[in-house]
Symmetry: C2
Subunit: 271 residues, 2 copies
């Protein structure tokens, strides 16, 4: 199957937030991310590949998607360049429908660990947080609607495909407040170690078990958590570090806290 | 002071690796990174600022550098654009001489915690590892010479200025081997949890104290640690995580392990 100029132009516009919003579709390129999409059975609407660029591993992937009845389109490397950053796409690019992001549709009462990303603007950080969330057994990621767009290609890429596996929802502060109260879930706010929050991990031991639900909140590096989130929090947690640095990278801080919770649960389970 | 076209062109070439290598200089932009440079008394050769873009906080910084006798150059926002990514530079850009990166010149026998970054290609990951290294009391960062260039603007920016505070050295595998043996330092290699390395943190407790020196090694996400590094390692460490993800982001994994060591040392100290 070849591609028309008109269609190529339409796909190229998915590189912009506006184009993605209009078409309700996004792009995800590269062998690794697409392998993950396949693994979690999240299939693209179309799959573009460029014969002259793709690796053997990519070729196998194209065939796997073909058996899943995905529309496969062969393009020239120049055509691929029009829709993708060649280096990251590695000659293979999926076009996906927007994932469901509605909290009410995605939330299940048995969820125990939720991560809230509050006004995270760096796409790499948001994607990395989703990836670590999946690694450390979190059940859902909530992202405030003033954060970076979920289907920004850098978010998808840095999630290493985890965005296809873990429910990721977009929330306003009002929805968050209403959700927390109606579900009666405790919330812990990650705050800077330097803001006089000397005590490291203050989530009560009684909450660290398989039965209790908890929302862990991470704010942006530049501004921290919003007042809307801080005022909802039941606990504050911080990571001790040397005073020579102002703060940790947001994805690192969130991942360390998720790892701590994961580890403590494992220890509890082994008791 | 105004700027000549020739000089602007020379500075713009610092955006490329080739230009940086030829001039042995690099650029660091943005209020935060330059505040850190000042804090660690690492002064730029020149400081460019754009009156129409700079914030009040940036203006204060310009004055502080002025009292330190740094050459200050006012440029138009268009001239700034020629040398910087406007969004990240925030109207202020320092030109720095290359930092010293020679292992033999930077290493001090009292160093206790060293991080080795082995063929880390993503500049954001390398910068974040340097930042976490400073946060968790590491004394030096070793970077193998097949990793991303140390003075890549994204490395400097994502280090949040930590690159000005912490000795960062470039090493070949030969230098590393020779260094490890001559200094008789133990090395721990971070390996994937999935490669049959089920036991989490295997560094002997006897090594987790203020007196013992340790090199912690982190490899690239795509390829892991090189055989050269693995064959030098005395211990292997891994981070337990759910099998749904293949691996963690390299900066996250390194930061979690550094945080663990930092925390264990603190606990030991408090005993």
């Amino acid at each position: 199957l070849a591609i028309s100029k008109a269609e190529l132009k339409k796909l190229a516009s998915l590189k912009t937030k506006k184009g993605r919003g209009e078409q309700q579709r996004f792009l995800a390129g590269g062998v690794r991310v697409l392998e993950e999409a396949l693994k979690f059975n999240f299939l693209p609407v179309k799959l573009l590949y460029s014969q002259s660029v793709i690796s053997e591993r990519g070729r196998i992937l194209v065939n796997q998607f073909k058996t899943k009845k995905v529309q496969i389109i062969a393009v020239s490397s120049r055509e691929m360049d029009a829709v993708a950053d060649t280096e990251t796409a590695q000659g293979i690019m999926g076009v996906f429908n927007f994932l469901e992001t509605s909290l009410s549709k995605l939330y299940k009462p048995f969820f125990r660990r939720l991560l809230l990303c509050d006004r995270i603007n760096d796409p790499g950080n948001l994607g990395t947080l989703v990836r670590s969330g999946l690694a450390f057994d979190f059940d859902m990621i909530l992202v405030t609607d003033n954060s970076v767009e979920l289907f920004n290609p850098k978010v998808v890429r840095s999630s290493a495909g985890a965005i296809f596996a873990l429910p990721v929802t977009k929330v306003t502060y009002e929805e968050l407040s209403e959700f927390k109260h109606s579900q009666n879930i405790k919330m812990a706010a990650a705050v800077s170690h330097r803001a006089g929050n000397e005590n490291c991990f203050e989530i009560p031991q009684s909450l660290i078990n398989e039965e209790s639900s908890l929302i862990l909140s991470i704010g942006s590096e530049a501004e921290g958590l919003s007042n809307a989130v801080l005022s909802l929090a039941d606990y504050r947690v911080s990571i001790k570090h040397d005073a020579k640095v102002e703060s940790l990278n947001a994805a690192v801080a969130g991942s360390i806290l998720m790892h701590e919770l994961f580890q403590k649960l494992k220890l509890k389970g082994a008791e």
